[in-house]
């Protein structure tokens, strides 16, 4: 029977895993920073009034295409803005591109609130946090209804002009690819998992721990040791059996 490693060794291994996991999305945030500077100080109000105009800016499209072609993990990217117009009604606009079958194309979203397929991105964390708090965000997997309609992970950060946040630049990631890579990093003799900021499992090396499960709902398992990934609000944890759990 294999010996259970001591807590210090486990902590050491988890810390190494955390570092590798963080490194997976480093190139994504580097691309987002580059895209931020590409857009520069365009007229955000004008863009919100005439949403198609940003997608028509050739240098924006080629920069986004370049970003999508450079990083395998990125499968979609673009810009979003919500501005309070003088009329009082909030105007929102999103310019988005996706890479499908190696080809980069423009993606249209439905922005009419009366429509059944209305895409209200202003409520999503990937938009709200950078817009209101200037913080970069990496969202754990979620189903992007009306957006991609698929399970998605989104990385985003603020676009600033004259020190003020004027828009958000974001990228959608290939979740299946990401989870595969994390599972590989987590491979070890003991059960481990990558948890998001609400302790939901993003990936795990234990077959009985499904992706997406809230730890609160995982009857058989408990968190034994936790190593936080501060910049993401996530953690890498070692799991043990909950006392009294059925074999």
């Amino acid at each position: 029977m294999p010996q259970t490693p001591d807590p210090d060794s486990i902590r050491h291994l988890l810390t190494g895993a955390a570092r590798q996991i963080l490194a997976l999305t480093q190139p994504v945030f580097e691309q987002l920073t580059q895209l931020e500077t590409t857009v520069g100080s365009f007229d955000v109000d004008e863009w919100a009034r005439s949403p198609r105009s940003l997608a028509a800016w050739p240098h924006v499209e080629s920069s986004v295409a370049h970003a999508l072609e450079s990083v395998d993990l990125m499968i979609g990217a673009g810009f979003a803005v919500a501005s309070a117009s003088t009329g009082g009604a909030r105007q929102s606009a999103i310019a988005w591109w996706i890479r499908r079958d190696g080809i980069v194309q423009v993606k249209q979203h439905v922005l009419n609130p009366s429509s059944d397929s209305y895409y209200d991105f202003t409520q999503s964390r990937w938009f709200r946090l950078p817009m209101t708090a200037g913080q970069p965000v990496l969202m754990a997997p979620y189903v992007d209804s009306w957006g991609t309609d698929d399970v998605t992970m989104t990385a985003s950060q603020a676009v600033r002009a004259d020190g003020e946040v004027v828009a958000v630049v974001a990228a959608d990631l290939d979740v299946r690819f990401y989870v595969d890579k994390v599972e590989h990093i987590l491979a070890s003799a003991f059960a481990t998992a990558l948890l998001d900021s609400e302790d939901r499992v993003i990936a795990s090396n234990a077959p009985d721990i499904e992706s997406g499960t809230r730890m609160a709902a995982a009857e058989q398992r408990d968190i034994m040791i936790r190593v936080p990934i501060e910049s993401l609000g996530w953690s890498v944890v070692a799991l043990g059996d909950r006392p009294g759990a059925a074999d």
Binding site: V106, Q108, S115, D116, Q123, Y142, V143, E198, S211, A217
Partner: protein, 249 residues
């Protein structure tokens, strides 16, 4: 670069290419349904005639004939000039009339089948959501049940109901349940529109959906599943009653 205009699943369901030689009235029927169901909303601009024709896999001539039909029904208007394009102009009473027409085509077996499907998807979505929902999901579910309670008419109510169940499926993190949920809401739309004409039904269902959200929040999978089934059954029972009275109460 190709524009990916009709990109959501709902649109894929409605705008799948017509098999065989497309006829203008088939296309018109599809577009009428889309407008009646609110997939295309008032003042929303349709894609260009060339793109729509390609999407439906019909000739531009056929497509133009279909649009003429819709124009005569007052469902769309075409502006030429600076803001060139065809825009939806569907009045709400018209949507009720179309809903009755569509509901009358459903036999009691069809109704039963749709409710079975809805119950299966809803129950499983709720149970999985209890295990997987994020705080953001729960916020959206809360808002959804609140919107149903606050809805002023059947179209708003149908929209809130649809968004709740689609969000419930999204909270389950299942892609297949989510896409099923969207197709289902489109098919069941006429029934929901007519059932929700009654404010008492809107109120009763919104209370149950509030219970679903509460159970999901508490990670109570069994409770969430049971209440989701109850919400489906409330609507199905009312639908059966309406059908017995010819749908026009």
């Amino acid at each position: 670069m190709n524009a990916d205009l009709l990109s959501t699943l709902t649109r894929r369901v409605l705008f799948a290419p017509l098999h065989g030689r497309g006829r203008a009235d088939l296309v018109a029927e599809r577009l009428r349904t889309a407008i009646a169901l609110g997939v295309l909303a008032e003042n929303e601009q349709l894609p260009s005639e060339t793109e729509l024709a390609a999407q439906f896999n019909v000739s531009p001539v056929t497509l133009r004939e279909a649009l003429t039909q819709l124009r005569q029904l007052g469902l769309v208007t075409t502006c030429r000039g600076r803001s060139w394009g065809t825009v939806v102009s569907a009045p709400l009473p018209g949507q009720r009339r179309v809903a009755i027409e569509q509901a009358r085509m459903l036999s009691s077996l069809d109704l039963r089948d749709l409710a079975d499907w809805r119950r299966a998807i809803g129950t499983e979505s709720a149970r999985l959501a209890a295990r997987r929902a994020s705080s953001q999901d729960i916020l959206l579910l809360d808002r959804g049940s609140g919107n149903l309670a606050a809805a002023d008419d059947e179209v708003e109510a149908r929209r809130s109901d649809s968004r709740f169940f689609i969000e419930l499926a999204a909270a389950s993190q299942s892609v297949r349940l989510s896409s099923n949920s969207i197709s289902l809401q489109v098919e069941y739309s006429p029934v929901l529109t007519l059932v929700y004409a009654d404010a008492a039904v809107r109120s009763a269902v919104s209370v149950v959906l509030g219970g679903v959200t509460h159970a999901v929040k508490a990670a109570d999978a069994e409770g969430a599943g049971t209440l989701a089934a109850k919400a489906v059954d409330l609507v199905a029972a009312r639908a059966a009653q309406l059908r017995a009275n010819g749908w026009d109460s």
